[in-house]
């Protein structure tokens, strides 16, 4: 933050210097990181190819558990994608200034996470090579798609979400790119000039720009809610006990924001340390974000309770037996771990000192990531493993291709993020400037 004594010009100067420092000469450590991620990504892709050639059977999924790790990952990544837009759009509308230090990386995270998530529906198709049948395009077969199917809703929700987030991210970046342009040289300068669209900060540009930004924020906010509601309806619209429940939409949205916020911490904390941005991303910011984390954790915990109480209050035998199974069945350890990560451990954030300890928050964020992944896994798998007809009860254990592809997706995500940190301003310079003088 701007020290009281410091004058605006040199503050702005230093700000730009500091942030653009991040864009300069990557360290060997950076290259190692990128390479590792890239190779994970490659392995993931190869595994996918193998799976396509051999058949879905190389994965662990079976009858009755037709959906496993892949769909879990899908939901997980969509979830990650969420707080990106939440932090920038919603907090922007609420004029919550602490957003400014997070929003750029959060939005980047959103874009990359959606890209990753978007792959999974294709990966889990038995005939991935016909994925384009999921899109309603005019074809000689004169066939369209079934708009009743939640999967088609997914197609629309996710693609919309990707487009809008990308635009939002880019628009927010234009003035900053213009600044980068000023410092860049050679071919880089060319590219940045193009990216900045010839931005000059004239009154006319600012006039429309501010409008656009508000509109986009206003669109993005309901979009966030809708997208994860749709994802939750993939399950809620079915008749499987443990899936078929009305609270899924809010429950999943909360969960998504929860996990997303955690992921923001996981990304921003190292970034801050590496690029020495403590001056701008202060403990107060983290304190605030930690509060968001705590709040969403409480909502999620509440939903867990509601799920169970609904099942047992409803007295529906299939529901009851399912939730008993979730609590005490084959997947109980996963479920208990999840409860610890998502419900118990975050309660520590009521303590101010812990909220303000960066290291603690980082560990916390990791736990939450794990916990939220497990949540999705347990919901999806345990519900399918034991449904109505006891004859075909079964159990599901993931196999190596699922692990490999999951790691691959992480590789992809982090690879993109690492590249982002080196080519684009990781903080919203303009907005920080604006905030500084008030």
């Amino acid at each position: 933050m701007k020290p009281k004594d410091m004058k605006e010009p040199e503050y702005n100067q230093r700000l730009e210097q500091d942030i653009l420092q991040a864009l300069k000469n990557p360290s060997p450590f950076y290259w190692v990181a990128v390479f590792t991620c890239a190779s994970f990504f490659a392995i993931g892709l190869l595994t996918w190819l193998y799976q396509m050639l051999k058949g879905m059977g190389v994965a662990g999924i079976n009858n009755p558990v037709g959906w496993g790790v892949y769909i879990t990952d899908f939901v997980f990544w969509v979830g990650i994608a969420h707080s990106g837009t939440l932090i920038s759009a919603v907090l922007f509308l609420f004029r919550a200034k602490f957003r400014n230090v997070f929003n750029r990386s959060a939005e980047a995270m959103t874009v990359f996470a959606v890209m990753t998530a978007g792959l999974y529906p294709l990966i889990h198709l038995g005939r991935s090579w016909f994925f384009y049948w999921l899109f309603p395009y005019p074809n000689q077969r004169q066939l369209w798609v079934n708009f009743q199917s939640p999967l088609i809703w997914d197609v629309f929700a996710v693609s919309t979400y990707f487009t809008i987030s990308a635009i939002f991210w880019y628009v927010g970046m234009v003035p900053d790119v213009a600044i980068v342009r000023r410092y860049a040289s050679g071919i880089g300068k060319k590219i940045y000039s193009i990216l900045s669209l010839g931005w000059s900060g004239s009154k006319r540009q600012w006039r429309h720009y501010t409008r656009l930004y508000i509109f986009l924020a206003a669109f993005a906010t309901p979009l966030v809610i809708s997208v994860h509601s749709v994802v939750s309806w993939d399950f809620a619209m079915s008749i499987i006990p443990g899936w078929h429940t009305t609270i899924f939409a809010p429950y999943f949205v909360a969960g998504a924001i929860f996990s997303g916020t955690a992921m923001v911490l996981t990304l921003v904390i190292p970034m801050m340390k590496i690029f020495r941005l403590e001056r701008y991303i202060t403990v107060d910011h983290f304190d605030k974000i930690a509060k968001v984390l705590l709040f969403t954790s409480l909502i999620v915990t509440y939903s867990y309770l509601v799920e169970f109480s609904l099942a047992f209050y409803g007295g529906h035998k299939f529901e009851e037996s399912h939730f008993l199974y979730r609590l005490l069945g084959d997947y109980r350890y996963l479920y208990w771990t999840m409860l610890f990560c998502n419900s118990l451990f975050p309660l520590t954030l009521f303590i101010r000192r812990l909220r303000r300890s960066i290291a603690f928050l980082f560990i916390m964020s990791l736990f939450v990531n794990v916990g939220m992944w497990l949540e999705r896994f347990v919901i999806i798998v345990s519900a399918l493993a034991k449904d109505f007809d006891p004859y075909n009860w079964g159990i599901y254990i993931p196999r190596w291709p699922e692990v490999a592809i999951t790691l691959g997706s992480f590789g992809m995500f982090f690879m993109f993020f690492l590249i982002f940190t080196k080519v684009l301003p990781v903080l919203a310079i303009t907005e920080i400037k604006e905030e500084a003088v008030e």
């Binding site: 074809n139 000689q140 077969r141 004169q142």
Partner: protein
């Protein structure tokens, strides 16, 4: 000047490659449509000149899903006497004497036949003419596949003739 050359070459290469592939595909397709038959039998001759009805040879077209390729015997009914000296007919008589069937090459094949059911009988009984799908055979010295036999092609006709468009009618 120097700069310009490399991209030009690349573009040229890509373009020519695409053309090449397309041409290969095109001729392969052509070849599939008019394969070299063991005896070059002319529908033109038999239909327009001799004036045989389609059902004279394709005898099961009203009785089974398959149109029915004429038994060698059917050919011999006439060719015992007719044009016995022609080289092609000699081939025919040879098949007949050795009592081995003529290994005709298949011309009409549904794209993904494994999944599709088609019955000649139903279409003929439905009042369709052979011409509607097989083109003007009487002017073809060499028979070749006229329509692409794609789903859309079937469906549009089914819609016009309001034949059933229920998937299960054709998909098996």
């Amino acid at each position: 000047m120097k700069k310009g050359i490399a991209p030009a070459i690349i573009i040229l290469y890509i373009f020519s490659f695409m053309v090449f592939v397309s041409l290969i595909g095109y001729f392969w397709q052509q070849n599939r449509k008019t394969p070299k038959q063991p005896i070059n039998f002319s529908h033109q001759l038999h239909v327009s000149r001799v004036g045989l009805a389609c059902t004279h040879c394709h005898y099961s077209v009203e009785k089974s899903p398959a149109a029915g390729i004429p038994p060698v015997q059917t050919c011999m009914n006439c060719h015992q006497a007719v044009a016995t000296d022609r080289p092609e007919i000699k081939k025919l008589t040879q098949y007949w004497e050795e009592k081995i069937p003529i290994p005709w090459k298949r011309v009409y094949v549904l794209p993904v036949r494994n999944y599709v059911y088609f019955s000649h009988k139903r279409h003929i009984k439905g009042g369709l003419q052979c011409v509607n799908c097989h083109g003007n055979v009487e002017v073809m010295p060499v028979i070749k596949q006229v329509p692409e036999l794609e789903m859309g092609w079937c469906v549009s006709c089914h819609r016009v003739k309001n034949a059933p468009v229920d998937c299960a009618t054709c998909h098996k």
